[in-house]
Symmetry: C2
Subunit: 309 residues, 2 copies
């Protein structure tokens, strides 16, 4: 069996993947705040899951895969930077191998979610696919020739920081016009707040992307205005991805993807309108389908792929 | 030997590639205007080069590669669209095979220029590289895992139509803000003309991208202003390519690339300033070096690769 671990800003999810790629056990616990706490938690999780594999499944562990919300090196053992966790230059693979004895493989969490989609979800059997996670930011994972593509320099891709226009606020990276300042959940909340302020409207609900989409779907004017702009720019960014990568499928994950047909119908119309040559085959757009344990499953799949090399 | 043919809007360049990838003979003739003329020219060129290979080099022809300024299907035998030549849906591979007896392989001209750069030029031995041709438009060819990458749907990439901002004129594709409306030779000419008009300046030279760069280098104010904006947006588009594809090398070809260190120094500074994470390894930017016969060489290399499959 393989251990998969998904380190988030709030919780660490983890589980056991069997040889048929089934997640036979999973759990979650708070991430912790200091680096020491997080490392102790990771060590405890590995030992606990190793014991569980032996006791409950009569099985041994052949490796550990870990997803982190940050930038990982080509060797999949060193975390260069995790802004959310405050990590810089952490040899996480070596630390955990020393503490547990297992081989440890690390990758960016969105890359691993894409890997899970490729094995069991929306990118299944596709040679070329892109997963865009639309949450606090815009993350991405790319599959090319049926393999995770991490770029020529191995640090992974940053589609969320592709500049697509001039926006009314700057990105946290310091630039203006990044895709994620238009297409993240944060982006639609910021834009809706701006509409409320500009038009001096009183509202009686707490602003969240979920609330905005639900109210837009009921036909409320201001939320609908925000969703129209949101889908305009999401379509624009997706067409850019088509022009630069031309994947067979672009999957949307993250909180915003709960908006179902209402979002998808608007989006696909706007994408079609902006294609370079109408009528040529181009990416199918769908929702991610590997579920909210995709990060854990993808982490285990990474370890499985690397061990079998 | 292999025949390579590069069909341009004005001239057809062609030549013979030997087994060591040396172009041992090359020539050029006007393209012709009607489809019939062009097809007759292509047939004549193939027969002529076949005879030359036999007579001058005692060699036979094992295949024909052709580059066209347009969109070619996954099978490399069918031209979907060549706006410059007025072609739509032309089974060029079959037509020329019927007329000459040789296997014919077709691809987009920028893809083939990138293939030539990969074998003998600026992308040599790189697993991942992008060639951007900065001319009338912005063309591109991409190498991933040491092979031409034509996207998941096989119609090639259109980095020139990636939207990067809001521009003062629309792209020929109908959209606003396409990379090529900022970074092509045409783009800097249009912007310079706008500066001249807006500031009501009298100029005593004919506006061309070459003239603008030469005068900017001498310190002339208005040309320098145009070059600053040009390099701002070229850097922005290049950083987008880094964020989406993360190639090891991005090579610049086309007319603008004659501007040497003057352009490159400005550009690399602006790219570095806009990288997502400063200090991490990212694409080297250089000039294409396979020369003005890269299209012919790349076409022959395509046929060579396809035949050896």
């Amino acid at each position: 069996m393989i251990i998969g671990i998904d380190v988030g800003g709030t919780n660490i999810k983890s589980g056991l993947l069997d040889s048929n790629n089934n997640l036979v056990f999973d759990q979650s616990r708070p991430t912790g705040t200091t680096m020491d706490q997080i490392l102790n938690n990771l060590e405890e999780i590995v030992i606990e899951l190793k014991n569980r594999a032996e006791t409950n499944f009569g099985s041994t562990i052949s490796g550990v895969g870990i997803g982190v919300p940050g930038v990982v090196n080509k060797g999949l053992d060193h975390v260069f930077k995790c802004t959310n966790l405050g990590w810089n230059d952490i040899p996480l693979g070596k630390i955990l191998k020393d503490r547990t004895g297992f081989d440890v493989f690390i990758d960016n969490d969105a890359n691993l979610a894409a890997l899970a989609e490729y094995y069991i979800g929306s990118l299944k059997d596709k040679e070329t696919g892109v997963l865009l996670t639309l949450g606090t930011g815009v993350g991405c994972g790319v599959i090319i020739n049926g393999k995770p593509y991490r770029g020529g320099n191995g640090l992974g891709l940053e589609i969320g920081h592709m500049v697509i226009g001039e926006n009314f606020y700057n990105c946290s990276c310091g630039k203006n016009g990044c895709f994620e300042t238009y297409a993240s959940a944060t982006a639609i909340v910021k834009h809706f707040q701006k509409l409320v302020d500009d038009e001096n409207v009183k509202i009686d609900f707490e602003i969240s992307s979920k609330e905005i989409f639900e109210r837009a779907q009921k036909g409320e004017e201001l939320p609908l205005k925000a969703v129209e702009r949101y889908t305009d720019y999401l379509a624009l960014g997706i067409v850019n991805v088509i022009n630069v990568l031309d994947p067979e499928v672009i999957s949307l994950g993250g909180g915003v993807s709960a908006s179902g047909d209402f979002l998808m119908d608007k989006l696909t119309k706007k994408v079609t309108k902006n294609l370079f040559v109408e009528g040529f085959p181009s990416a199918v757009i769908n929702y991610a389908s590997a579920g909210n344990k995709a990060g854990v499953i993808g982490a285990a799949l990474l370890a499985k792929e690397e061990i079998s090399k």
